[in-house]
């Protein structure tokens, strides 16, 4: 790269030469990532208290302890189940909604669009309270006695409610770049409605579906507010369990459990990215 070229288009890392941008970058790192790093590092700290910032030596015993904690593991399994089921339904509903809004014109369409996006904008606490009242009225609050996974049905329904608008939004955005002529081409070549959907529209939506699924899964997995309001006394999810543990004392066990959650999220993201890449080549 010669000098002239550099002047026209700055290097990718040119921002690091300006102190103001460096400061912003540093603040970003400190407030976004430092807490996570600290959390992970201190999950290996050989100390009785998780809030202890003095390094007492390396240990993995809190991982063993976390995995040995039956209640925590149950909450964890609950969370994964809820996340999985609500992801499937959120993506399904999101796809249908997105295709409906993208494809058809019908009366009161702007109203429907607004209603679909509503769970994204209204405060979670409101949605939580509303759902809690709804389930109480139905007598569907205390599901603890039901067999697994029906004991998680009300929380799952609540999660689908707030996840599917995000899924619909992502998929709809993807649909904007669809070349309508490819759909007509498929029809022209002899495909009926269903084959057009399967052979042309669905492959185009696929990256959007993956993103939507990932988004729904993470949103569900770490949701606290809505879950807290809709979970009965006998069903507990991972974030709710952690919250109740923190109220007693912050031990490295919590750090360890949280680290596992971070690891799962990272692995899922990595898998999704890899899948997207194989689609593009």
């Amino acid at each position: 790269m010669n000098l002239l070229h550099r002047r026209v288009r700055p290097d990718a890392f040119d921002y690091s030469r300006r102190w103001s941008l460096r400061t912003v970058f540093a603040f970003g790192c400190v407030f976004l990532y430092a807490p996570i790093v600290v959390l992970v590092v201190f999950s290996f700290n050989d100390s009785r208290r998780g809030g202890n910032v003095i390094w007492k030596g390396f240990t993995t015993k809190y991982y063993a302890k976390a995995f040995g904690n039956e209640e925590l593991m149950l909450a964890f399994a609950n969370s994964l189940t809820i996340a999985l089921v609500s992801t499937v339904f959120a993506v399904l509903l999101g796809t249908l909604t997105a295709v409906l809004l993208w494809r058809f014109r019908f009366p009161f369409k702007p109203l429907v669009e607004g209603l679909v996006a509503l769970p994204i904008v209204i405060p979670e606490i409101c949605l939580g309270v509303a759902l809690a009242i709804f389930f109480t009225q139905l007598g569907w609050m205390d599901t603890g006695g039901l067999p697994w996974p029906l004991n998680l049905s009300n929380i799952t329904i609540a999660h689908i409610t707030f996840c599917f608008p995000f899924a619909a939004l992502v998929i709809r955005t993807r649909l904007q770049s669809f070349n309508l002529e490819t759909e007509e081409a498929a029809r022209d070549l002899g495909a009926g409605e269903w084959r057009v959907f399967m052979d042309v529209l669905l492959p185009h939506m696929r990256p959007g579906l993956v993103t939507a699924a990932l988004l729904s899964f993470t949103l569900s997995l770490d949701d606290f507010v809505i879950t807290f309001f809709t979970s009965g006394p006998n069903t507990v999810t991972f974030p709710v369990k952690i919250y109740s543990m923190v109220r007693f004392s912050v031990t490295p066990e919590i750090n360890a459990a949280s680290t596992v959650l971070i690891a799962i999220t990272l692995v899922l993201t990595w898998l999704a990215l890899r899948y997207q890449k194989t689609l593009n080549t």
């Binding site: 070349n179 002529e181 490819t182 007509e184 081409a185 498929a186 029809r187 022209d188 070549l189 002899g190 495909a191 009926g192 084959r195 052979d199 042309v200 492959p203 185009h204 689609l279």
Partner: protein, 383 residues
């Protein structure tokens, strides 16, 4: 009509087809026949309804009125996927997530043709459009021209009765366009499939088509061979759309006898034209613009001096102007002449003459002239 064997009617009959979108009239009472084995062009400016007509033939739009008959059978109620008609889209619409071979085989797969037959027919079709051996490529690895060939092969492999092409050459660069034009003509000859081409480009239509339908404002203006449209346009619009026509408003018409007319036109003066009074015209003063006297650029001669000699030549029209730009085109040049009235006309001038004119400075007086019988007396719009 004149096609053997007897009883063999047109391939596609379009009868009084009209299309409205709400209150907008896109097509009005279009009637035309497409004969088997021809290349038929729908030509017109954008918004003339040609694409709408193509979409009606393909089945993507239902006509508001009228009927379509393919081999005498009603087509309107058939869904696009049931019509033996295939289309090459303007964007090519190649399926991006399928390989070239799967793209081409898709239509056969929908027909439930056996796999082995699909493979051979796809290979044949790819060979036909000179993409042999590229079956495993993905569309994104292909150039625009190659993608168009995929779209062509994908449509032709179904052996349609009718192949529709939407602006097939518009997205290609000039060199490729000429090559593709020849190839399309060859493909049509090889396959014998009837082609219907939509285009806004008169050169494209003239070079490709056996017959052209000129559309404007949703109405059919004229149908004919490129030659007949060029030499016998029904009105000034068609004449100007097929080639260039410099049209002058006719202000007065007078019959001298049954075989000649005295014509007065703005900017041209008065001259005598052979022929009877054109249909729809009356003698005397003319409403402005209802009739035009038109001349084609290649009929215009340019000289530096006015025609000298023994008084005005009755067989010749001459107008004075000044020299404008010269565009060198190789064999010929296009000379712009700015007429005294303020408008400009262009003349096509051959080699030597053009060289002499090129030496003439811009703004100097010149004279444009042509033979009286080269002037066409045309209505502004045919009824």
């Amino acid at each position: 009509m004149n096609k053997p064997p007897p009883g063999d009617g047109p391939l596609l009959s379009i009868r009084n087809v009209g299309k409205r979108f709400g209150s907008v009239v896109a097509l009005e009472d279009v009637t035309l026949d497409i004969e088997p084995g021809e290349i038929f062009a729908l030509l017109g400016p954008s918004g003339c309804g040609k694409s709408t007509l193509l979409r009606i033939i393909a089945g993507f739009e239902p006509p508001t009125s009228g009927e379509l008959l393919l081999d005498g059978h009603d087509l309107v109620r058939l869904a696009p996927n049931k019509r033996p008609i295939n289309m090459v889209f303007q964007s090519y619409a190649v399926f991006p997530h399928m390989s070239v071979a799967r793209n081409v085989g898709y239509g056969l797969q929908m027909e439930r043709v056996p796999k082995s037959e699909i493979a051979t027919r796809v290979a044949e079709a790819l060979e036909q459009v000179q993409l042999g051996g590229l079956g495993e490529r993905m569309p994104e690895q292909l150039s625009g021209g190659q993608r168009q060939r995929v779209a062509l092969a994908r449509a032709l492999v179904k052996r349609p009765r009718l192949l529709l092409l939407d602006e097939p050459l518009s997205a290609l660069d000039a060199k490729l366009r000429d090559a593709m034009r020849l190839e399309l003509v060859n493909l049509q000859g090889e396959t014998g499939v009837t082609f219907v081409i939509v285009t806004h480009d008169q050169h494209e239509a003239m070079a490709l088509a056996d017959r052209i339908a000129v559309l404007e404002g949703g109405r059919l203006r004229q149908i004919g061979s490129p030659r007949s449209l060029y030499h016998q346009p029904v009105d000034a619009f068609v004449a100007d759309f097929i080639g260039t026509l410099h049209a002058f408003d006719v202000t007065r018409l007078e019959r001298i006898d049954t075989a000649s007319l005295r014509v007065q036109a703005e900017g041209l003066g008065t001259f005598t034209l052979p022929g009877p009074l054109p249909p729809g015209a009356r003698e005397g003063e003319q409403a402005t613009g209802s009739f035009k006297a038109g001349i084609r650029p290649e009929r215009i001669g340019v000289s530096l001096e006015p025609s000298s000699g023994f008084g005005p030549d009755p067989g010749r029209v001459e107008v004075a102007g000044t020299m404008g730009d010269i565009a060198f085109q190789g064999q010929h040049s296009i000379v712009e002449i700015r007429l005294t009235g303020g408008r400009s006309i262009s003349a096509i001038v051959q080699g030597d003459e053009a060289a002499a004119l090129a030496a003439h400075p811009i703004g100097q007086p010149v004279h444009a002239h042509w033979a009286v019988e080269d002037l066409a007396l045309l209505p502004e719009r045919a009824a």
